[in-house]
Amino acid sequence: MKVKLFSILAEEIGATVDLNLNDNFYARDVKNSIKKSYPEFSDILDQSLVAVNEEYADDEEFKLSDVTEIAIIPPVSGG
C-alpha cells in the first residue's frame, strides 16, 4: 500500500512510501511501520496523525480492503 507523505517527510523521504500492511490494521501500525524503515523521523512521526480515506483516523481497526488512501499528517501549519 502506498502511503502519502507531506511537508518535511515528503521532502526527506518522498511523496509516498510503500508499506506492507495486514488485512486488518490500526492507524498506529502505519506510523510504526514507517518508523522501522526511517528511525530518524520517529520524533516527527510521533507528532503526526494518520488519515485514512481523507479522514483523520482514530484508534479503530481498519480493513485494508476498505482503504483507498492513507496519508501521514505532520503537525499542520496553515494560516
Binding site: F6, Q47, A51, Y56, S77, G78
Partner: protein, 136 residues
C-alpha cells in the same frame, strides 16, 4: 453562496469581500493572514505552503458547514505555493445578521483551520529554513 477552496493563485480579497455583502446580513467579519517579515527576531524572506488538497478542502468544508448551519455565509480560501512578503495566504469571511456572531465564527474558523486543515508551511528565514508546526 459560500466559497471554500485551496488555490495556487493570488487571493482576490476584493472579489471575496464583495461576495459576502448581501442585504440579508448586516455584519461581516473578515480575517486576512499575510506573510509577515518579522517574528520576534526572525526575519522571513518567503514561505512555501503545501497541502493535501482533497483532504484540506474537505476539512475546511466541515468547519464551514458548522457556521453555514447557523444561517451565516462563509468564505474560506487558502493559497499554497511560494508566497512573498505581504502576500495574502488566507482569507476567511463570515457574514451574519449580527456582528457578534460574525466575529465569533470568523475567529473560530481561522483557529480551527490552523489546528486541523492539512496545510504546511516551509519558512525561508534569513538564518535558516523552518518547518511550521515542528518544534525547533
Amino acid at each position: 453562496m459560500s466559497l471554500i477552496k485551496i488555490t495556487d493563485q493570488p487571493i482576490n480579497t476584493d472579489e471575496l469581500t464583495k461576495s459576502l455583502i448581501h442585504p440579508e446580513f448586516g455584519g461581516i467579519d473578515i480575517f486576512i493572514g499575510n506573510i509577515r517579515k518579522f517574528t520576534d527576531e526572525i526575519e522571513t524572506e518567503k514561505i512555501e505552503y503545501t497541502t493535501y488538497k482533497q483532504m484540506a478542502e474537505k476539512e475546511m468544508q466541515k468547519l464551514a458547514d458548522q457556521v453555514l448551519a447557523k444561517g451565516m455565509d462563509v468564505v474560506m480560501v487558502h493559497r499554497v505555493g511560494e508566497l512573498n512578503l505581504s502576500d495574502v495566504a488566507v482569507f476567511i469571511g463570515v457574514a451574519a445578521p449580527h456582528r457578534a456572531e460574525a466575529f465569533e465564527n470568523c475567529q473560530f474558523l481561522i483557529d480551527q483551520l490552523k489546528r486541523t486543515v492539512p496545510i504546511w508551511k516551509k519558512e525561508y528565514d534569513r538564518d535558516k529554513i523552518r518547518w511550521g508546526g515542528l518544534g525547533e
